[in-house]
Subunit: 151 residues, 2 copies
Amino acid sequence: MAYRAGVEQRISLVTLGVADVERAKRFYQALGWRGREAEGTVFLSAGAVTVVLWGGEKLADDAGLPAGDSGFGGIALAQNVRSREEVDAVLADAVHAGATVTQPARETFYGGYAGYFTDLDGHAWEIAYNPGFTLGPDGSIAIPEHFGTEI
Amino acid sequence: MAYRAGVEQRISLVTLGVADVERAKRFYQALGWRGREAEGTVFLSAGAVTVVLWGGEKLADDAGLPAGDSGFGGIALAQNVRSREEVDAVLADAVHAGATVTQPARETFYGGYAGYFTDLDGHAWEIAYNPGFTLGPDGSIAIPEHFGTEI
């Protein structure tokens, strides 16, 4: 799909930085939530949004932000997009709106391409292209059935 | 609809605590986002989730958490439910799973009923019954067309 001007009004993921992924996973499992886990990362589909549990230090490092910084409480919102070009274009649009790029777009370990910006209050947004996750017409991502292990 | 055991696996709202709602609103408008505003609160429907811009101090006070505390970076996730009884039941389930109630459920200024818990890493969740917002079968909320003003 061709990139449309502007930043689409949607969220794909909410990533919660946690001290201990296993402990956090057990908590959300105790709430009755189920999902999939891969490489120490837990994905819990919550309607059209996916809640991700990931190590807080890894998340901060990924976002180019100091762990424990009061402006970054260990939550990052993410918008997945359809191409590397769209990542660059959305980041440029955000900067034009006044955002600060904290992590310039770069190739990721999972074969994708992503960068981060913070809004005027320091809230972190990742803009990501992940060829492994299908993006639905509503912007929701689909975690493949054979991705990682079921939890 | 009757309450089902367990905490449903979904998010209704992501509330971003901000220093200046007008400034934050202009930023998201500059991204191309549109929504509705009422009583100093901005609602931006982002697919099945609604992004809310609200004063950070008000949010912290509402959540029973210290503003600027490093464990609370000014973001609260919310799950809207269908009744006051369901708010109480979900909070009880969360406590059973190890959560800490930071704001016991109480009547709200908008005629609803809500409380907050934090997960094991201090991430804040509000469980809310808001009779003014229709809850869809997928758990998404609908901001009424005549609610507040269009932005």
